[in-house]
Symmetry: C2
Subunit: 478 residues, 2 copies
């Protein structure tokens, strides 16, 4: 999607601004671990500069029109200063991964400045074994985990030798619009809105069947969302008032493990991910002395919705389903069975599309309405935590000739949500990034170790099942 | 002064809270450079822990009573976590002083969390020549640069071998008061207020002459402040809207230089400090293409007011005078003459006491009034920047056996003030810490180098004057 000066934010993107508070930040990002030696700060600045034209939004800032009910614009930042956005830091000795996580947690505890382009990249040197890290932090309004292109993404190459991607000429910012100019543009935008709707109606006339089906599915999906409201998520210490500070833990695992689980027990990789997160939460809850009998937690699972016809649709195509986390089930294979059955039912019921309908509605609502609409999405009544599983590339990536070794995604905490589990696969690995509230989740490491234990249990069960299958297929010759 | 659970903030201390915004932070601190090797994080934590009982306020947090017109209390933080407040970081290679200043500026760009005790200490390793730094950051409401005791202060010893100062027993926090409890305490406080005033009246009866003199001086001083309002500070690019981000520069110099200037040209060390700051600002303004003919800037110069009778007085005894910065004078000795004459006049006119009267008034005003009163103190109409000169110890200090080599004080930026110059002497050195707004003061290094040039010029002029004096006293023998 083009990223032009004076583009207007989509409704969903505005909701990431209106829902942001001093304790609930709406930036996301990743910790990227590379083989060393680290590049110099000057070389990194030059590299970022050479690729910035690929992500014009990263030289743009927010401009709020004088009428507060209007959605803000993206405008070129005439005082853009790359050294502000790209920062250089280091780990204290010995440079452990624990120290890297702590540094990242501190960086993610600080809200981005809304008067500047909404991103930062930190070059962190001094990690053990000669490694270094990039910590990327971008506002959710600027990028989403599914369809968006982040600044970190464009820094990579698929070969050790960096590709030449310099722009044709120097970047020339458009002048900052005056308040009166934005007011006039606002009026024009309001006048154009009916045209957009008219175009949809026109399409409906030309493709009557597609539209009729779309309406039927949307109605069904909205029914599903109403049902969800009547079944609130259980009360657990994941849903408490949160502060502005964060903790971060990670879990490394292999894509091969999840394929083995899928082959032995069926279901999708997503089902297995929810199963081990539920297993980790079970261990964490029990460690806190909380009984898990009969308890099923709810995860909000963002998914990407892509329809055949993308015309007339704007912005962030993020949707969400309500995934089950049956913490009451101790046996890993039985737990996977419960998750799988529930997820199959959800897919049939088109609940996912329901969420997408809410998101699309946002596109036409002024921010004052959006604040309410987005609050519905983030309601603790609907889900206990976010679990998002983002597929990444299955080949090695390089930055300035250094191989990317690990990616750990970092989510965000909506109000009253003390935990966000983000999962990303890359080059044969599946890594979990656990972002949590600093004070209320002081025992986040118990959860991380619990997820590791659950993965091991499920993999062992899968291996046993596969051995049994082989035994059945090839009876032992006496 | 005792620092008890449920102490109420003084009026001036409340003003530091009410004046704080997301772009105008009210924390202060210092960069402390030590000879290496750095202590381990564990050793530093243990050391801070062993001295915390000397500054009880550093384990206390703010508690806001249910009635918003009441002043908040300090209460023990029952979830106090020392690892949150003491942080470990490092400089990227090569570990230059420029990188240390940049790291400190980033730390000072972030507002303290009001739900926790209002301080942080950062252990920063990796400074060149084996050195390390402590960066201390404390809210102005918790400590002031003159009479207050900061956490950093109690970490020092006057000998390389640390003194044993362990507390007698473990710290036991008082329980957090309920809203109802604070409400009751509020009512009691209101009832007690007249008693405090009554006691003053009683003292007035017993010491009629002292009170009469005090009233006369206060009246005279208030007249002086009114005069200041009629003479606004000139408009220069130091007084612009500021953002939340900071730059930091420093200037190292010797106390011997200032003594030489004093001996040759007269005046106080403070006069010489204002003279070289004015000289630096002159160079900075001219570098920006701004004409300095006839221009005199105004500095707010905080001073400590101590009277014989301290009874009945509470909190922060910080006062301020309006110091002249005659940037129109090119000749360093002539500039010092102008500063000296003006400062002598100010001392006679009791303008300093006037500021103290404003501060004392704050003690009895609810926060809603204070916000207005404190805004008067920080008005750009009165001064262009703050220049504060804090005398430090003239002997070497040690922390965990490591000698403190340099101290650079860090001030704060009131709204519409892009520069704060803090000066501190320590062990024969006089160091300038220049805190500035990141965007509007992009050329802060020009000012730092300008102050250095002005110091050199004034010292050379003083040396010439001293040689001439010697020549006059001892005529050359032919």
């Amino acid at each position: 999607m083009a990223q032009r000066h004076l583009d207007r934010l989509s409704g969903l993107d505005v909701s990431f601004l209106t829902n942001e508070t001093s304790s609930s930040h709406m930036h996301v990002g990743a910790i990227l671990v590379f083989e060393g030696p680290p590049p110099s700060y000057t070389d990194l600045i030059a590299h970022v500069h050479s690729r910035l034209h690929l992500v014009p939004r990263f030289r743009q800032k927010l401009s709020f029109p004088p009428v507060p009910t209007s959605r803000p614009y993206w405008i070129d930042d005439p005082t853009f200063n790359l050294e502000y956005h790209v920062r250089h830091s280091a780990l204290p000795s010995p440079g452990s991964e624990e120290q890297l996580r702590r540094t990242a947690a501190r960086i993610f505890s600080q809200q981005l400045d809304r008067t500047k382009p909404l991103w930062e990249i930190w070059l962190v040197q001094g990690l053990t074994r000669g490694r270094f890290a990039l910590i990327s932090k971008t506002h959710h309004a600027l990028v989403d985990g599914v369809s968006g292109v982040d600044i970190a993404t464009v820094l990579f190459d698929v070969t050790p030798v960096p590709q030449k991607l310099e722009p044709d000429g120097p970047w020339l910012p458009n002048p900052e619009p005056s308040g009166a100019g934005l007011m006039a543009r606002d009026a024009a935008g309001l006048a154009q809105a009916p045209i957009g709707i008219a175009r949809r109606v026109e399409q409906a006339t030309r493709h009557p069947r597609r539209t009729a089906r779309g309406i039927a599915e949307a109605a069904e999906a909205l029914g599903q969302v109403s049902w969800s409201f009547a079944n609130p998520a259980p009360e657990v210490p994941l849903n408490v008032e949160i502060g502005s500070h964060r903790r971060f833990e990670w879990v490394r695992t292999d894509l091969g493990h999840f394929k083995k689980i899928k082959n032995a027990c069926g279901g999708t990789v997503n089902d297995a991910v929810l199963t081990v997160v539920a297993g980790g939460l079970r261990i964490w809850l029990q460690n806190r002395g909380i009984r898990t009998e009969g308890m099923e937690l709810s995860a909000q699972v963002p998914v990407s919705i892509r329809t055949d016809d993308k015309q007339g649709q704007l912005g962030n195509q993020l949707a969400a389903i309500r995934g089950p986390l049956p913490v009451y089930v101790g046996d890993p294979v039985a737990r996977l069975g419960v998750v799988r059955e529930a997820m199959d039912g959800i897919k049939e019921s088109k609940q996912a599309l329901g969420a997408e309908v809410i998101a699309r509605f946002n596109d036409f609502a002024p921010p004052t309405l959006l604040a309410e609409a987005a609050r519905i999405n983030f309601s603790t009544r609907l889900f206990n935590l976010v679990v998002t599983n983002v597929p990444g590339p299955q080949l090695p990536l390089y930055m300035l000739g250094r191989e990317l070794q690990d990616v750990f995604p970092v989510g965000f905490l909506p109000a009253n949500h003390a935990l966000f589990v983000a999962i990303m696969s890359y080059n044969g690995a599946v890594n979990f990034g656990l972002l949590a509230d600093y004070d209320s989740m002081h025992d986040l490491d118990v959860l991380a170790r619990g997820i590791e234990t659950s993965i091991t249990e499920l993999v062992e069960a899968a291996e046993e099942a596969l051995v049994e299958t082989v035994d059945e297929e090839q009876p032992a010759r006496a």
